[in-house]
Subunit: 215 residues, 2 copies
Amino acid sequence: MLMAELSRRSGVPVATVKYYLREGLLPPGVTTSATRAEYGQAHLRRLQLIRALVEIGEVPVAAIRKILAVADDESASVHQMLGAVQYELGPHPAAPPDEDPDWQAASRQVDDLIAGLGWIVAPAAPARTLLALTLAALRRTAAAPPGPGLRAYAEAMAGLAAGEVASLEATPGRPPAGDRVALAESAVVGMVLYERVIVALRRLAQEDASARYFG
Amino acid sequence: MLMAELSRRSGVPVATVKYYLREGLLPPGVTTSATRAEYGQAHLRRLQLIRALVEIGEVPVAAIRKILAVADDESASVHQMLGAVQYELGPHPAAPPDEDPDWQAASRQVDDLIAGLGWIVAPAAPARTLLALTLAALRRTAAAPPGPGLRAYAEAMAGLAAGEVASLEATPGRPPAGDRVALAESAVVGMVLYERVIVALRRLAQEDASARYFG
């Protein structure tokens, strides 16, 4: 297909496609004349992944480059590729100074939880920091309600995550099995949009629980 | 206590306390001389709620005023007060034009889900819009993975919400039962910080699930 069709089918404006070509995020098409180049399905799928990362994941170009490099590197496993996607999605909180006692206690709590559940999570996973920062904030806040316990949250998320990860391979309309770029696109969409689904459903569930308990 | 102690114990700077007094968010203390006023426990708890709304909930002053009005109105139930807290916490997404077919289908899906679960949720709950907007985005996105199903997410959240709401009354160090302002403070802290706990744990659970499925 020509540039105009690539733009139309991907929903990405021509000027933006040209920007991605200049930035090397998209490989050049096959030149057919001085001013024309042909693009294929691989270009289209790559552009769709970039679009999902930009529009849904709000991921900056430098981070997109890293994700595409892992997707292109066939020696990296699908697990490594999904890790690259997740780690490049924000936020990327900085850990506070090590001497903060709430932070120390919260970090240990995260390590103990992950070990206790037998979860396979890399030491460098940004979500460890995200969780420890939030637990440290809860420790510092006198008014923090105890909630149903950290393990209950973890088990609820584990129950959902197994189905989420398995469903990546069952996305309707997906191109041939083993298309890593298409799998990465589904992963971005699923990670970001179902997070919003969870947040909205939690609020609805809390309203119902409050109506029953306090209403 | 005097202003200086109120500031120290609440962790809110004197200038900010004076701003809340001017704005009427905090009632005046008992004047003991031309330049001194005495403040009590009710001031302290109210200031702690305002601080939680500003710092943790990032709620604007106009919205804080609405929450405090419901907390002060003893004819409003605790359920109504918790609703005010939740509804004033952002985001407040605007519904798209009614003729958008994805939006129509997504809104029906939300109504059907809530009815099917027998949840008690007000028609005006902002989380209905939040959920429908996200479901509409999923409908528009060809690469959206099917996930474990909306009902699985809803049931996981319902399981957690019951414990969350009940635990509001069991917050350690809480002042006397029936203190609505203190309850509202715990609700803000719990709604916002446990949302972050859930997001972080979901990412960790996904990494573990991916390691087992694709690793």
